[in-house]
C-alpha cells in the first residue's frame, strides 16, 4: 500500500518531532488522534497543497501538512 506523508509544522513538533508516514483510508481526525496531536491545535490541514477538513479521508500518496498558529491571529 502506498503511504501518506505527514509533516508537522511549528509547535506541533512538540507532539510529533518529525515527518512520518501513515496509512491511507483513515480521516485526518483519526490520523491526529493516532499520532497524539490534539486536533484543536491544528489550524490548517493542507493536503497536496489544498486545504481540507479534518473529516477528509486520506488517499494513497497524499502529502499532508499540519499547520498550527504560533501566537495567534
Amino acid at each position: 500500500m502506498k503511504r501518506v506523508k505527514v509533516v508537522p509544522v511549528g509547535m506541533l513538533q512538540r507532539y510529533l518531532s518529525e515527518a512520518v508516514t501513515a496509512n491511507p483510508g483513515q480521516t485526518v481526525h483519526q490520523l491526529l488522534e493516532g499520532l497524539g496531536i490534539p486536533p484543536d491545535l491544528v489550524a490548517v490541514v493542507l493536503v497536496n497543497g489544498r486545504q481540507e477538513p479534518k473529516s477528509y479521508l486520506l488517499q494513497e500518496d497524499d502529502q499532508v501538512k499540519l499547520v498550527p498558529l504560533v501566537g495567534g491571529g
Binding site: 511549528g10 493542507l46 486545504q51 481540507e52 504560533v70 495567534g72
Partner: protein, 600 residues
Amino acid sequence: MRVDLTRGDITKEPLNPELARGYLGGRGFAARILYQDLEKGTDPLGLGNKLIVATGPLSGLLIPGAGKTTFAAKSPATGGYADSSAGGHLCAEMKYAGYDVFIFEGISPQPVYLFVDDGEVELREASRYWGQGCITVEKALKEGLGEEFQIVTIGPAAERGVLFSCVSHDFGRQAGRAGVGTVMGAKRLKAIAVRGTKSIPVADLDEYHRISRQMYDACKASEAWEAWTRLGTSGVNMWSNEVGSFPTRNFQSGAFERAEGLKGELMRERIVITDKACFGCPSPCGKWSHSKKHKVRVEGPEYETAALLGANVALSDIEDVAYANYLCDEYGLDTISAGNAIAFAMECFEKGIITTEETDGLELNFGQAKVVFALLEKIAKREGIGDILAQGVKHAAHVWGKGSGDFAVQVKGLEMSGYESRSAPAMLLSYMTADVGAHHNRSWAITYDLEVGRDKVTEDKAAKVIELQHIRPLFDCLGCCRLQWVELGLDLGYYPAILKAVTGVDRSWDDLLKISERVWNLTRAFWVREVEGFGREWDYPPARTWKEPVISGPTEGKFISREDVEKLLDMYYAQRGWDKNGIPTREKLEELGLGDLVKI
C-alpha cells in the same frame, strides 16, 4: 512633522532621541505623544485631539513585514486610548521622504489633503473628493499624482462621524478600530499622499544585510509558508468554527451551521484572483478577490470579516460577505464593529426589543444579505436606525434598553472581534484588558486555552495574556507585522539583532519587552486620566458572558461564572502590579520610568 490644520501651518521637527530611546516608535511614540500633549478631557472630535501617524524603526527596511503604520488618537468610540495599525506601503514612503511621524492638530476650515513629495509639503484643497468613497479617492489621487504616491483616505462614514470609521490605504488595508478614521474625518483631512525618494540610514550595513537575508530565508523555508500564502487569514475560518469560537448570530453561539460556505479553500477557488502583499512581505496574506455575483473587486474577506459579517449575521455565501466587505471598504467602515452593530440590531429584532417601527420598516432577520447591505448604507449615511448603530452597540443598547446591554458585545465601548470566548478564559481576559477595547491584536490566547485546558481559570493564563500583551504590541512599536512570527514561526531573536544593526543601539529582547510594558502602563494611565471613574468595571465583558450559556456547537452549554471573571481580573491586576481596581501603582510607574510623566 506637525500639521496644524486650523491654521494650515506645517512644521518639521527633529525626532526627540529620548522618545526613541524610551518608546521605540509606532505605537510607543503615539502613546507618549497623546499622553503628554493632550489636555485632560479633550473632546475626541474637537480641536484638541491629535491624529498621530507613526512609523517604527524597522519600517521601510528590507525586513519581513516592515510595512506597518500606526494611526492613533483619543477614541471617539470609547473616550479612551486608541491606536490601530494598517499594513501596506505608507510607512516605507514616509521614511523615504524623511519623516518618522505626522502629527495632525486642529480642524481644517475646509476639506484638505496632505501632499508630501520628499521635502515639498502642503495642504491641498479636497472639496471635490468629499463625499466620495475610500477606494474611489485613492484611485483618483493615484491617477492624478502618480502611481508611486502612497495614499491614505477616509470615506463618507468618517465625514459623517460614524464612530467606527476606519482609515483606508492600499485599496483594502485599514487602520480599522476604535474610530481613528472618525478623528481624521472630524479634522476634515480627506487624505494623505506621500512620495519619498531618499534612503534610510542604517548603522551597520553588512550586519543588516546579513540578518535581513537570514530572516527572509527563514520565512521562505517555513513549512507553514505554503498554507498561509494560499489562504491568508481565511485559513482559520473552519478551525475557529470547529473549536466553537466563530461568533455566530451576535455571539449567541461559537459555531455556525453553514460555515462551509465561508471556508478558506472555497474562497480561494471561487473568488480569489491573486495574492497581495504589504511592503517587504515574503508571505502575502492579502487576497484580492472578484465577486462575479455582485460585480465588485475587493481585498478579502479576511478572517475577521468572515466572522463578523459572515457567521455573526448568519451569511454563508462568501460572495455576499465579499460584497459587504466592499461596502465597508468604500464607505470607510470597520468591518468588525459594523458586523457587531448589525448582529446586535438583528438579535434585538429577534427578541422583540425593536420592531419595524425602529428599523425604518426593515425586517432585521439573521441571514438576509440584502438587509445587511441596507444597514451598512444606513450606518454610513447615519439614516434612521443607522444613526443609532453608527454610535456603536453600547450606545444602541442605552437607546433600546430592555436588557439589551447584556448582549451588546463590547468592552470599554469597542465591539468585540471574532472569537467567542465563554469557554476560553485567557482569550476572554485578552478582550477584557486590551487597551483599546475588545480587540484581539494585543493578546490572542485562545490556542493557550486549548493547549492547557479551556475551562481552567488559573494564574498561568493571566501570565500568558500579559506576555502576549507585551510581545504583540511590540511589533506595532517596531513598525512591522507580527504574522511572520505568528504564522511562519520566525524566531523572535532576530528582532533585537536587526534593530541593533539598524540603530546601532544594543538592546536585549527583555529590554524591548520592558518598553512594551511601559507603553502598556502608559495607555492604561491614559484611560484613568480621561475616563471619569475608570477602573475594574471597565474591564468587564458583556453580561451575556456569565448569564447565558453558548447555545450550540462544541461549547454548547458553556459559560464562565461571574466569580471566575473577577478571579481573572484579580490575578491579572496582581501580576501587573496594579491595585484591585486595575490602576497602575506608583511603585509600578516608577519602576517603568513613568513616575514623572504620569500623575494618577
